[in-house]
Symmetry: C2
Subunit: 365 residues, 2 copies
């Protein structure tokens, strides 16, 4: 697989990005295309990365046809308005990545840049899969079962959603979970404020019967709550992009705050500090399990092509995992599977849905 | 102050509830009215509570006129639909509590029962404060600064909100934070998915200029995100009840999951287990700081009367704190303050608001 890697996006660009690409090229059979300012990329490649051992040789990878550079001197600044910028700067690195995918010169695009710009560029250049109303960002999260990461979508691409879109999110999440995360029969949940069928807001109350009665091929388990995010019993959680983003940030911050409070309590007494020393390996193991970097970034689902968005603070490690996720999404043809399943979804009139919804409410009150 | 305590509501009713009332009566100058099945209440009072030391004497408190019982034999079952049940069972314990407040025989009502039933009963019997469109549940949360708990509202009373309601939530939260939680100048934030003014969904984009330009007397600091929930720099966070409930449950679950993972890692090796022993006091201190029980339950703001809802799993300790919160809310006349501030809010037409909103968007794109 050929991966177009936006080398100019992210807080640590180009250095960490470029070296993430080198690691991906060295560890897999993929070809990594570094997209961005050629001089800056070559300069980064000349500085040895202090943390990568053994350090692969970029020159050898280039000579072997496993690593290449596509030059562009435009890039999006942090303070650019994302949607406007990708339209104005036709040759910014994100747009070039998307064009490589569009023209069949790359199989996947990966970026740690502004996720709004990434989504806008994908829509602008690749468009949408026929039948998909809105592409969604699906974020992969650690759960208590390390072998069973959770997919949460939409994580922020669509702040206000129609309930019909949530059905598409469920189908797209189901496909990604099967093909890329390797779940045989993913368990799908609808994020709500109570597990009873009738609980929720207008959006989830409408989406509930749609997911239960009109979405063939998914294992819909009903409403889920905050604790389902961490328990490892759900594989895909569906919600609007506002709620998804809030859940993600709250979970991240809660984990971070807990860690900070624990540290403060331990540091408060010399005796605690000494006692904590032998526990350091245990704490490090915990940190590793919760590290979102190893879960391979967030696919933008619903566009015709494999597009992976990673955290702005991504290091080389996160980038290498994201390249692998892009490669797998392309290899298993996630977009094709989405097109087929979305195309086969039954049409549901709003009247029919209202009737189904009233049935759910009546059973529960 | 006289506190009507619903002795039949909650997972641990009546035992923990009744003893929570006894502790509150013994530790404060409040009079606690235990509302519920008299035989069950008297039976609970005869069993000594194993964890309370020193154990106050209920008979002495009753003789001193500090503790009393109001009998009712109706109560709401767990599987009752809340709103319907409080209308059908006129004399259920929650309704009796509210009537005591309505008739001036109690100054506050406290319950660990179904929060939906509590809100329905309050609306049904007490009604709304003039000018308040929707009462809201405000939850008090621990933050990294132990002396500065956070108030989050709405935490679940209104799943779908109009942006005008969020302005009322901000004012009500500001008042409760000042009068009951003791913040001099509470910092108010709007829960969103980015701190820039233009970020958010339709609801928050409309609420933003309302809070910034048309809500005199509040210290509005703009959009906040997940990490602001834990950092102790915001005193009141405003959002719709769906998002509020999701944030609460996600934060609770994240903390719980982290604790569980830490425990599992430590228990995985004998050596870790031994090493962790001397740290137990530190871990207990952390657990205490994060204990939501000590923060006194969630007031239902916007009804004429002090109404406090506590967690269904409340123990005697949480009930005693909730009684104190009810007492303080009544003493500082939170409802009166809300009526005055809400009555003085300027009217804003939707056209005016649209113009202000477009201004915010234009500045940021």
């Amino acid at each position: 697989m050929r991966i177009a890697l936006d080398s100019m996006g992210g807080d640590n660009a180009p250095f960490e990005i470029v070296w993430g690409g080198v690691v991906a090229a060295a560890q897999t059979s993929d070809h990594i295309i570094l997209v961005g300012d050629e001089a800056a990329i070559r300069k980064s490649l000349k500085h040895r990365h202090p943390k990568i051992r053994p350090l692969p040789d970029p020159q050898a990878l280039m000579a072997a046809g496993r690593l290449s550079i596509v030059h562009t001197d435009e890039s999006i600044a942090m303070d650019d308005a994302p949607a406007a910028a990708v339209r104005r700067k036709k040759n910014c690195s994100i747009n070039v990545c998307m064009r490589l995918v569009k023209e069949g010169k790359a199989d996947a695009a990966v970026s740690a840049g502004n996720s709004g710009a990434m989504a806008a560029s994908a829509l602008f250049i690749l468009g949408r899969i026929k039948g998909v109303a809105r592409p969604a960002i699906a974020t992969v999260l650690p759960s208590s079962d390390a072998s069973r990461p959770l997919l949460l979508l939409d994580a922020g691409a669509n702040t206000d959603c129609h309930h019909q879109w949530l059905r598409e999110f469920a189908v797209m999440g189901d496909i990604y979970s099967r093909l890329v995360l390797g779940r045989e029969k993913p368990v799908i949940g609808l994020m709500s404020i109570g597990t009873e069928d009738c609980k929720g807001n207008e959006l989830t109350k409408h989406a509930f019967p749609l997911l239960r009665d009109y979405t063939p091929g998914i294992d819909f388990r009903g409403n889920v709550e905050g604790h389902d995010v961490f328990e490892g019993k759900t594989d895909v959680i569906v919600c609007d992009g506002f709620v998804g983003n809030v859940v993600l940030k709250t979970a991240e911050s809660a984990a971070h705050a807990m860690g900070g409070w624990l540290k403060r309590v331990i540091m408060s007494k010399l005796w605690f500090r000494l006692a904590a020393l032998p526990l350091l390996p245990a704490l490090r193991a915990l940190k590793r399990q919760m590290d979102p970097e190893v879960y391979g970034g967030a696919p933008l689902l619903g566009v015709p092509g494999a597009v992976i968005i990673t955290h702005g603070s991504s290091t080389y490690k996160a980038i290498a995992f994201a390249c692998r996720a892009g490669s797998r999404a392309a290899e298993h043809n996630v977009s094709q599977a989405i097109a087929e399943r979305i195309g086969a979804l039954p049409e549901v009139s709003e009247e029919e849905l209202e009737t189904a919804m009233r049935g759910t409410q009546a059973q529960n009150t």
